[in-house]
Symmetry: C2
Subunit: 434 residues, 2 copies
């Protein structure tokens, strides 16, 4: 491969150790951050659109690289789910390019005045949105995260350091080159979006523990083991994405038809997403009428059902659930079913076993719904709607980097607004403090 503009721009290319490479990347990102902060909306959008064009232009090249990634992953024994996440096709590349154009269409959060007031002494105070600075993204095998995350950080005026999984290294490298083409076309520094070139796993540890002076926040995107490593080792603030042990609670006043549709959609639309339902709670007050049909519908849709005693009695095909099932994010066509005594018992179950991600109540009883919505302590609580709406796009927030289960900084979908901070600008006329 010929030398690419980004490589030419990066001071990391002279380095050979992980620490040397990462420090050079960190320094370049820190230097790029103030330029990104001041970049105009037009400039950022031009970069995004040029990157989309580059992705389309180089799609054959990207597909070839992705094929090599797929071969490598398959030969090292990767499972079906990983291969599916890793795989690109012309449609997925087009979707990636369109996502960049969609992000260009989003309003620019930077510079927005969030609040403004005047003090009795005449000081005029403004709270104005600013970027966070440098964002580190650690992700696994999905190559499209390279484009999405890079674009969201750019739109929100942040420099970004992308560290993807080794399985997708070849695909991600080319996608990253397209982003850099976009940056350069818009007159922005190539170092605004950097990709960690080494697949050495020590680079992740270095990002988490040794780059606090270069990285303002790390966003991990991946499975439980990545998240746990991040939580254990990070010395840098983290926007965490824990698992989604999501519940649908069918309250006694639920219409069976609506409950059935919502449960099926919440569980089966896509089983591998964090907003997929993992546990169905059914109110004892409607178990006689609703439990068996709900289980029947799930089984008919190809879902394995694990249940408590009451569910076992409702259908002989139900398997017994263990205590561990209530904690489990299956990310698969499996659901745990339990009968509970009313809305308070459902809230209690969710408090104990849930992951504060997304939970839904189905009911025609407005008071029960309000109780659930107020008391369930999750990032997203829904009434009469599917948990699979847990998605920044579905919320109308444009792209997202994930769903945060933290309460700190950003909760729920993390879009461009959530990748920002603010500063106070105070205008006076010589005021002194008494």
């Amino acid at each position: 491969m010929t030398t690419h503009p980004q490589e030419a721009a990066s001071s990391a290319r002279h380095e050979t150790t992980v620490a040397g490479i990462m420090t050079a990347i960190g320094r370049d990102a820190r230097d790029a951050a103030p330029i990104l902060e001041l970049a105009s909306t037009d400039q950022k959008n031009r970069a995004l659109r040029a990157a989309a064009a580059a992705l389309r232009k180089r799609s054959r090249e990207i597909l070839a690289a992705n094929e090599r990634d797929m071969e490598g992953a398959a030969s090292s024994g990767a499972g079906h789910a990983l291969l599916d996440r890793l795989k690109l096709d012309p449609n997925r590349i087009e979707a990636m390019a369109r996502a960049l154009e969609d992000i260009a269409e989003l309003p620019d959060p930077i510079g927005t005045v969030l609040a403004e007031w005047t003090r009795p002494n005449g000081l005029r105070i403004q709270r104005r949105r600013v970027p966070l600075g440098v964002i580190g993204i650690i992700y696994e095998s999905r190559p499209n995260v390279t484009a999405d995350a890079g674009a969201l950080c750019l739109k929100s005026g942040n420099a970004v350091i992308l560290r993807g999984g080794s399985e997708s290294a070849r695909s991600s490298e080319l996608i990253h080159q397209c982003l850099v083409e976009g940056l350069l076309a818009a007159g922005l520094p190539a170092t605004a979006i950097q990709r960690v070139p080494t697949t050495d796993r020590a680079a992740v540890g270095f990002m988490l523990a040794d780059m606090a002076q270069y990285i303002d926040v790390i966003v991990p995107r991946g499975g439980k083991s990545l998240i746990e490593r991040v939580q254990k080792d990070a010395r840098v603030p983290v926007i965490g994405h824990l698992e989604g042990v999501c519940h649908v609670f069918v309250e006694r006043a639920a219409k069976l038809e609506m409950a059935r549709n919502i449960v099926l959609n919440a569980k089966m639309r896509r089983t591998g997403v964090c907003g997929a339902a993992e546990t169905l709670l059914v109110d004892r007050g409607c178990a006689d009428t609703h439990l068996a049909p709900l289980i029947e519908a799930l089984l008919a849709a190809g879902c394995e059902v694990r249940g408590d005693d009451r569910a076992l009695k409702a259908d002989p095909r139900v398997k017994p659930a263990t205590e561990q099932d209530w904690y489990t994010e299956y990310l698969d066509a499996i659901i745990a079913v339990r009968v509970v005594d009313g809305v308070d018992a459902a809230i209690e179950h969710i408090r104990r076993y849930g992951s504060q991600h997304t939970d839904s109540i189905v009911t025609e009883d407005a008071a029960a719904a309000e109780r659930f919505l107020t008391r369930v302590d999750s990032a997203i609580v829904l009434h009469n709607a599917s948990t699979q709406f847990a998605d920044g796009g579905e919320f109308g927030m444009g792209g997202e980097i994930g769903i945060s289960t933290d309460k700190f900084h950003a909760r729920g979908p993390v879009g461009v607004d959530q990748l920002t901070s603010y500063k106070y600008i105070v205008r006076g006329s010589g005021q002194l403090r008494g």
Copy 2:
């Protein structure tokens, strides 16, 4: 001392090890958090007012305990600054009580709808403010922090664990008892505001590293060594309060009279606060007219001046500044003075040596002011006003727990609003995701 309601309520009283005590406190706080979240505004305000009444009623007792704290600190060789922070008198107790009443007057952030919109599919989405959950406060010798921090956390619907310095243990214990009296008078759990009863320093380490499942965020209030320890050891999110290396930049178009007043106020009003100016930057374009009078005024006010070559030439009483001076938060009647080449050089100096806390420009040139306000990356940037306005009260935000120099979660003054998170409430009518 007789058994106090809080002790009776706390499960920590049966524990003898630091781990046992802290785990019991953590569990109690976690249990109290959902009750606090649902507490009405009226209930929280009644608790605050009853606590204020208790402080007044028991003020003689508190003063006696404070005297013992002062004796203990003096005999273990505490310096003047610490003794001053530790000391209570009837005025300071009255101020503490009034601060609680002021916090009762603040609007209740909890339940506020921050945003609300409807999606094309009819889903109605609400972003509603909720508490963070459990807040840990680690502070040093100032006993009034017990009242302020406890009250701000209560008002924002959070349970709180207070860990104050050992010097103020006796004063803080009584102040804490007053807060608990207030809680009980309002029908709230005594465990909503807990104080770590042991002065064993291992308790701080345990809070930072081993209580992630009980504590949602830690707010450290104290000097550099505490902050550094927190940054090194914390496994829990932290709202950080780094030092305030604050600058006043006198730009060439500054009026001398205004510059003199602002510099004197920013440096000398109180030298021990984080918003006190530590460095004066003077534009070379006005150094001939402004530098000597500014130095003269500072010296006349009793301030030691350390300067660069140009400042040394301006006045023989100026001492030479070293590289280290530009980084130093003196918190004392000392200032570093440097001449710089215009607004960009001032911005560059602040970027290099500042702590992203609070910085001010004095100028009549609107364009220079805008450039400074936009490009200086600090929590608070001011034009023609004193850096000592860096204060939640002066911002009209009511009480504050400190000034955050983080960009993550909360930046600048941390008041009740900043001690909250939000959740998304979604109301549907059976929507499924396509």
